[in-house]
Amino acid sequence: MPRVCEVYAARIVAAVRCRAAAHPGPETIVVDGDAHDRTSRADEQGAPRAGEPDWPLLARWLAGECGAAERAAVERWAATPSRRAELAALRAWWEQSAALPSAAATDAMWLRLSSRMHEADDAHSAGGRAAPQPAPPPGVRDARGRRPRSRPRVLALVPGRSARSPWRRRATLAAVLSVAATAAGLAYAAQRRPAGADPVAPPPMREYVTKPGQRATIDLVDGSRVTLGVASTLRVRPYGASAPGARELFLEGEAVFDVAHDERRPFLVHAGGAVTEDLGTRFGVRAYAGDGVVRVVVAEGQVALRAAAAPPGSGALLAAGDVGRIDSAGRALVEQGADTTAHLGWTGGRLVFRDATVAEVAAQLGRWYDVRVEVAPAVAGRRVTVNMPAGSLSAVLRAVTVPLDTRFAYDREGRTVHVGP
């Protein structure tokens, strides 16, 4: 770090001298041309823009990672009242940015809160069947150290402010780059070779697994974000932030991808015999083993969807609002103008079924709540449409069974629910 500071200081001094020679007057810090930052490349060519601060330097100054020479340089820059005001504003934003929870943290907070809300409501509502809650996943404790009732949980990667020990920092880092809950041992990152891999094949993939009733948010090294659904597995071939070649992920189950687009490095999701390629997007992929069809929903941007066997560049182009389906035979079907929020509602804790059979609903509920849901043949084929927040399992079952004029009952241990007359 000292070496970098020296280099910086030397450049600033040289730039200041150059500027002073040309225009005697208050010294300014000139734009430091930076090869990585495309936006400032234009400034590198001609004369530096007068008065424009050296942003990386200011960032380090705010972070307190500056040497004395650089601090002096910043103080010289902030000579005028308007610049001092600007610096004060920057400092205010800087301070506040530490305490503001990120979107992922807010999501996690909402999910914890909404399950506590439902608990409170369930406890409050008198009478009715005291349906046993599905057993909580082992090892989960909320911020108070209590075992929460089991609701689908999103495990966000925002540990609280940790103590400044190096061990804690490494743990924090691991938590951000892999999947870790506030308690340990739920979704885990493991290095495993995919089954049947060649022993001298490329490096093993990193694997993220959620169990029924769990979800997770994974921030990838390139800045992309994956929200992994319940009972799903995501395998990622490790790639460095600047390594060449495609970024490849393998999904079994359901996930939503927020991709940091990179033209030089295609982002490919392999799932259920189909390949979805990001073209600058936010999209969801659903490919559970029992589904029989891979479904891709695009919220923003575009993706290219094709069967795995088809050549790259073929297949369907999906844009925002499109739902693409590929069946096991490789036939693709595109539905346009769909309500993507309905399909992706689960990331916000909503259960959405559109004209689905009771059997399909039962399968999904089984994954969400970690119970077995058995459906009598008489009702299995009937269709329902549901759009509701994922509250207690009983509430959802009521919403499904009452319109169908049928019933549900738990067995003695509370691990299985029977739906039917």
């Binding site: 990386p56 920057l90 305490a99 503001l100 809160l113 932030a241 940091a260």
Partner: protein, 190 residues
């Protein structure tokens, strides 16, 4: 979730219709209320309690209590003012309990309590929402680095080695974040 804060601005967080929906138990409306205010409230409570985990707990407790008593949720001229006053009270209670606990410890220092920053003004609340919005709209990698540094307290070196980048790149991205935030938020300055 910036889309919820955008629709909030359209609807008006203080609209009576919105409060009525919460009273009626509309969970969606309540969720929007939460997503709109919780981040700013966390940042605000953090000034009192100096711990993000505790701040989040305080804010959740506040909203849980609100939900539990939603039928009695009185009509407020400014929901934001109500929420921030309630949050401040809870934060002060928390501090009071902590100090009481401290008194039983041998090393209770008897230092003066931290200065009470006081409830924020309307402009400041909107400013916090806009800051959160601005951070969420940073380019993906830039945002990741910025969040790692600001919220997870990793040093540039640690960020660089974990993401496989040079320290110079991290510095550049931090500078870019600052520049982008300034461009987006400059209108806030008097």
């Amino acid at each position: 979730m910036s889309d919820s804060s955008c629709s909030l601005r359209q609807l008006g967080p203080d609209s009576l219709e919105w409060q009525a929906r919460v009273r009626a138990g509309d969970e969606r409306a309540f969720e929007m209320l939460f997503r709109a205010f919780a981040p700013g409230l966390c940042a605000f409570v953090h000034r009192y309690v100096a711990s993000r985990a505790v701040a989040e707990e305080v804010v959740q407790d506040l909203f849980l209590a609100l939900w539990r008593h939603r039928e009695a949720f009185a009509v407020h001229e400014r929901v934001s003012a109500y929420l921030y006053t309630a949050a401040r009270n809870r934060a002060l209670n928390h501090l009071r309990r902590e100090r009481l606990a401290d008194r039983w410890h041998a090393d209770a220092s008897g230092a003066a309590p931290a200065a009470d920053p006081g409830a924020p003004g309307e402009g400041e609340l909107l400013g916090l929402l806009e800051l959160q919005d601005a951070i969420e709209h940073l380019p993906a990698r830039c945002r990741l680095i910025f969040v790692l540094h600001r919220q997870h307290e990793l040093t540039y070196g640690e960020i660089a080695s974990s993401l496989g980048l040079s320290v110079k790149t991290v510095e550049t991205q931090m500078g870019r974040a600052l520049k982008t935030l300034r461009a987006r938020l400059d209108h806030q300055r008097p």
